[in-house]
Amino acid sequence: MDDALKETSNGVREKKSGWGQKRFWHWLVSIVTAMIVLAIILNFIVNPFKLYYFNFFPPAEVNVRELKGDLIRKAAPPPQVLIIGSSRVMSFDPEYVTRLTGKPCFNYGGPAAMAEDYYATIRYVREDCGAPIDTVIVGIDLEAFHPTLPTQAQGRFLPDYAKYYTQSKDPDELLIKRLTMLLSMEQTGESIAVLQRALKKEAGRPNIEYVNNGMAIMASREADIKKGTFNLEQRIALRVRRYPERSLGLASYKDLSETRKGYWEKFLRYCSDNGIIVYAFLTPYHPEVLQVIELQGGEKIIEKVRGYLKDTTSAPHVIFRDYLKVENFGGDVEMFYDEIHMRPENCNALLKNLLSESQKE
C-alpha cells in the first residue's frame, strides 16, 4: 500500500492516482510482447506459406510455380507449347491449344507474373524442367512493366526459378521479407486457419484446382455459376474502383521500368536464339475496368505499353496482338469471373483468334 501513497509538500500523505502505479504499462507491454512472440512462433511452426523450416501442416497456399514445375517434369509427352503469364492466363486450356496446333501444351501461368517472370519461366521450364519448348503463348498484363510493383514472392522463394531473376538483390531482400512476414497479419490469419483445419481434420478447400497440364479450374466460382449464385455485375461493382490504384498502381505508373523492359528484351532474345516462336498479347480487361483506368488517366500508360510492345515484336518469330478490349478477339463481356479473369469460353475465343489469325498471316 505504501507505493500507492505519496507525501505532499505539507506532509500530508494522500492516495496516488492509479496512473502512478506500475501495473498498467507492465500489463500492456507484456500483452503486446506475448502476442508478437506467439504470432512469430505460430507462423514459424505452422509455416502456412512454406517460407521457413517446418512442414508439419499442409500449406495454406500452393506455390503455383513450384507445383507447375513438378507437373511439367512429369508431363508425357513433354510440352512443346507453353502458356505463360499471370493468373489471367491460368484458365487457358492447353488441350484446346493442342487441338489448334497439334502440339502438346502446358499452362505455366502463375500469380502476378511480371516481365521478369517471362524470362525466368522460359529458362526454368526449358533448362531445369527439360521441356523442349518451341512455341510460347505469353499473356502480358498492363502492369508487367510497372516501375515499383514487386516481383511476386512465389518465384522468389523457389531457388531454381529465382536464379533467373538476374537483376534482383534476392538473398538479403528475401531474408528480410521472410523475417518481417513472421509478423504479418495475413500469415497469422492463414496459420490460424491451417490449425483450425488440422484440428477439425478437414482438408483445405482450394478456390483453384490444377489439372496435370497446368490449367487452373476456378472451382468455387464454377460452383457458384452452377448454383446460379454468381453475380458478375455486383462483383465488378465492388472491385472495379480498387483496381487502378491497388492492383495497377496507376499513380506511380508513369513510365515503363527499364529493368523490366530489359527482362522482356532478354526473353525475346532467348526465344530468338533457341528458335522459339512467340505469340504475345495484351491481356483483356472487362470493359468497365478499362473505362475506369482510362477515366483515371491511364490512357497514356496504355499507349506507352502498347507502343513499346509493338516496337519490340517486329521480328518474324514474334506475333503480337492487342487484346485489351474484349471485342478485339471476339470475346463476350459476360464471360468473366471478375474484372480481369476470363471464363473458359473467352479464353478459348482468344486462343482461337491468336493462333488461327496469326497462322493465316
Binding site: 498498467f24 502476442m35 518481417t180
Partner: protein, 463 residues
C-alpha cells in the same frame, strides 16, 4: 520514419527513450534528443536535415540578438529577419511550384511565355510544423513573452523533438521550456503508464480505424467521376472520419512519447466532431494550429478593429494555404472563414440553435461538407463531387460499398461524435488504469503491429 513502423517500434523508439533515461546530465540529454531527432528526420532524406538546421540556427541567433538589443528599430529588423527567413523558406520549398504555375498560367493567358523556371522542389516532410515551432519562439522573444535561451541544444531539442517534429502538435517554446530546462531525473511509473496508454490509443485510432477507412475510400475518390450521390456522401463522410482518426491518432502517439520522456505535450484534438458550433469546432480541431494562427495572425491583424471579420477571413484563408499549396485549400479555408463570420453574426442576432444535439449534427454536416474542397486535388474534382452529392434525380441510385465498410464508418462516427476522448478519460473523468484496459489496448496494439506492413503514411505529413 513512421511511428507505426517496425523500425520505430522495435528499434528507434526504445533506444531513443532508454538512452534518454540513462543519461543523467541535462545537457547530454538535450544533445541526445537532438541527435536522435535528426536521425529520425534524416531517415526520410538526409538532405532535409539541412533545411531544419538552417531554420534552427537562424532563429537561435536572432533570439540571442533580441535578448541583447533594446533599440526598437533593431528589434523590428530582427523580427523581419526571422519572418523573411522562416516564411521565405516555406515559400520556396512549399509554395514555389504553386506560385510559378499560377504566374505562368497568367502570362500564358495574355499570350506571353512562362517567366518562371519550372523547378521541381521537394518539400521536406513536416516543414510547416517545425517552421511554426521555431517562428513562434522568435516572435515571443520579440514580444518579450519569453526569455530567450542561451543553450543551443535546448533550442535544437525544442525545434526538432522527434515526437512532434513532422506532424505536430505545434508546440511553442513558452509551453515547453520549463520542461526542457528541468527534465525529470526519475522515471516515474505515471509517465510510462500514461505514455503507453496514449501511444497505444493513438495507434489504434490510426492503424485500425483511419487506415481501414482509407482502404475503402481511396479507390472511391480515384473513381470520383462515377460515384452515385449516396457513394459521394459515403466517401466524404469516410474521409472526414479518416482525417480525424489519422491526425488525432498521430497527436496522441506524440503526446504518449512525450509522456514517456516526462515532457508534457499539449492536447491537440478535443473531440472536434462533438462541437456544437463552428467556433467550438475550431477550439477543438488541431488546437495547436488554431491557437497559433489566432495569436500570431488573427490578433495582430484584428487589433484595433471593432468588426474583425476581415481579419478572420484572412486568417482562415492563410490557414487553408498552410495546409497545402493549392487553390482548393484556400477555398476550404475561405469556406470555414465564412462559416465563422456567419456564426458570429448569427450569435449576435441570437439565431444560434440552443439544442446541443442539433448543434452538434449541424456543425458536423458543415465541416464534413467543407472537406469536399480539402480532399480533392482540383476544383473539377470538388465540383463533380458536389454535383453528385446533390444530384437529386439520381439520389436513389445504388450505393456500391461493402457492408463491413459501412459498419466501420458508422462505428467510427459514433465514436467520434459521442465517445469521450483519451485525454478526457484520463484528466476530466479521472479514469483509473484498469487491468482490462491494458488487456484490450495491448491486444489491439498487438493487432496493429501485425498489420503494420499495410499501414499508410500519416495524412498530415504533406502539410
Amino acid at each position: 520514419m513512421l511511428f507505426p513502423s517496425y523500425i520505430f517500434i522495435f528499434l528507434f523508439g526504445p533506444v531513443a527513450i532508454t538512452v534518454y533515461w540513462l543519461l543523467r546530465k541535462q545537457r547530454y540529454r538535450h544533445i541526445w534528443l537532438t541527435c536522435a531527432s535528426y536521425v529520425f528526420y534524416g531517415y526520410w532524406d538526409w538532405r532535409f536535415c539541412f533545411a531544419m538546421l538552417a531554420t534552427t540556427l537562424v532563429d537561435f541567433f536572432i533570439g540571442k540578438a533580441l535578448k541583447t538589443t533594446e533599440s526598437k528599430s533593431r528589434r523590428k529588423l530582427l523580427l523581419v529577419g526571422t519572418l523573411v527567413s522562416n516564411l521565405g523558406m516555406l515559400c520556396i520549398f512549399k509554395y514555389y511550384g504553386f506560385f510559378a504555375r499560377n504566374i505562368d498560367a497568367l502570362f500564358g493567358w495574355f499570350g506571353h511565355p512562362a517567366p518562371l523556371p519550372g523547378w521541381q522542389i521537394i518539400l521536406p516532410v513536416g516543414m510547416s510544423f517545425y517552421v511554426f515551432h521555431s517562428l513562434s519562439y522568435t516572435i515571443d522573444v520579440y514580444k518579450r513573452q519569453v526569455e530567450p535561451t542561451d543553450d543551443l541544444f535546448e533550442f535544437t531539442t525544442f525545434v526538432s523533438l522527434f515526437s512532434q517534429l513532422v506532424a505536430g502538435p505545434i508546440i511553442r517554446y513558452r509551453q515547453i521550456y520549463m520542461s526542457l530546462r528541468n527534465l525529470p531525473t526519475k522515471l516515474l511509473p505515471e509517465n510510462l503508464n500514461l505514455g503507453f496508454f496514449f501511444f497505444a490509443f493513438g495507434m489504434v485510432k490510426k492503424v485500425l480505424i483511419a487506415d481501414r477507412i482509407a482502404y475503402y475510400i481511396d479507390p472511391m475518390f480515384a473513381d470520383y467521376m462515377r460515384l452515385s450521390p449516396g457513394e459521394a456522401w459515403v466517401a466524404i463522410l469516410g474521409y472526414a472520419l479518416q482525417l480525424y482518426f489519422d491526425f488525432s491518432g498521430y497527436s496522441l502517439m506524440a503526446i504518449g512519447l512525450g509522456q514517456m520522456m516526462g515532457l508534457k505535450i499539449p492536447q491537440n484534438f478535443n473531440s472536434p466532431y462533438q462541437a456544437v458550433d463552428i467556433g467550438d469546432f475550431w477550439r477543438r480541431w488541431h488546437i495547436s494550429l488554431s491557437t497559433w494562427l489566432r495569436d500570431y495572425l488573427f490578433f495582430p491583424v484584428a487589433a484595433g478593429r471593432s468588426k474583425p471579420y476581415a481579419a478572420l477571413m484572412i486568417t482562415m484563408l492563410l490557414g487553408g494555404l498552410w495546409h497545402g499549396a493549392g487553390w482548393t485549400f484556400v477555398i476550404w479555408g475561405g469556406i470555414h472563414g465564412l462559416w465563422l463570420v456567419f456564426h458570429h453574426l448569427f450569435k449576435k442576432a441570437k439565431w444560434v440553435p440552443r439544442n446541443r444535439i442539433w448543434g452538434r449534427f449541424g456543425t458536423f454536416f458543415l465541416v464534413t461538407f467543407s472537406w469536399v474542397f480539402f480532399r480533392p486535388t482540383s476544383f473539377a474534382m470538388s465540383a463533380t463531387m458536389i454535383h453528385e452529392m446533390f444530384n437529386l434525380p439520381q439520389f436513389l441510385s445504388p450505393v456500391n460499398v461493402r457492408f463491413e465498410f459501412l459498419l466501420l464508418v458508422l462505428g467510427a462516427l459514433a465514436w467520434a461524435m459521442f465517445a469521450p476522448n483519451a485525454w478526457e478519460l484520463v484528466y476530466a473523468r479521472k479514469a483509473q488504469p484498469k487491468l482490462w484496459w491494458a488487456i484490450i489496448l495491448g491486444f489491439l496494439m498487438g493487432v496493429c503491429i501485425l498489420i503494420l506492413s499495410e499501414t499508410a503514411p500519416f495524412l498530415y505529413y504533406q502539410f
